[in-house]
Symmetry: C2
Amino acid sequence: MKTRHFLAAAAAATLASAALAQAVGKPEDQIRWRQSLFHVNAWSMARIKANVEGAYNKEQVIEAANVLQALANSKMGALFQPNTQSGKGWKETRVKPEFFQPARQEEVGRIAGAYVREANEMARVAAVGDLNAIKAQFGKLGESCKSCHDKFRKDE
Amino acid sequence: MKTRHFLAAAAAATLASAALAQAVGKPEDQIRWRQSLFHVNAWSMARIKANVEGAYNKEQVIEAANVLQALANSKMGALFQPNTQSGKGWKETRVKPEFFQPARQEEVGRIAGAYVREANEMARVAAVGDLNAIKAQFGKLGESCKSCHDKFRKDE
């Protein structure tokens, strides 16, 4: 039961479990929207980086972390329908075909679940406002992003 | 004092008051990030539209509304620095030069402040889960988006 619970939780959080997710938009819309989403994440991460490396402003970190949290919890798996394995949004998608393979879904779900947890923790830590904790959690969140990029994103 | 208070509140919420906002990124990054942000908004609006016009799922509307709220409160004005009046992100920016004119900042701030309020109300109404209220607020939020597009966005 524990294993099944874990899988159910992972599936609910997954980036990939398309069958569970709300499909809206043509394949090219989905690819453009998900590329947009990851670039908004990049902006938000850049904002937090600027705060932990330069002058720290609590509100700015909260604003950026809240964006990361809302996007992590948005069920972005909806933007990875099976018919979007290749194609062009703003540019050609960089997702690897392995991301969609049934045999990899448990792994994708695990990585996605960890990412959602780290993003939620980032928002929690940002609201508290302890700079050392923010730095540490920013590092963990970045590692979580990277763990998916390393496995499931093609090099440019 | 009332007027000054209003202006301060509007400025804090504004899309445009660049001097107050945290600048991160080169002009082309800022333009790409803000284009990305508006496309994530478009995805979120499309999700809510699908729910109010089709099968209603409370969680999906909450997820989308939370994204809209976090982005509305992100101080996206940081992405409209004065050196981004023209230029290319994913594509050429469609912002009109009037958006940056000092004489228009009170108006921009008013529109932006109304937008933030409507997005916050969208998230509140989504959490309550009354479909008629969601429909009504979705319309108001769309009008708020349009009020800025009509004045400050070039046609394609």
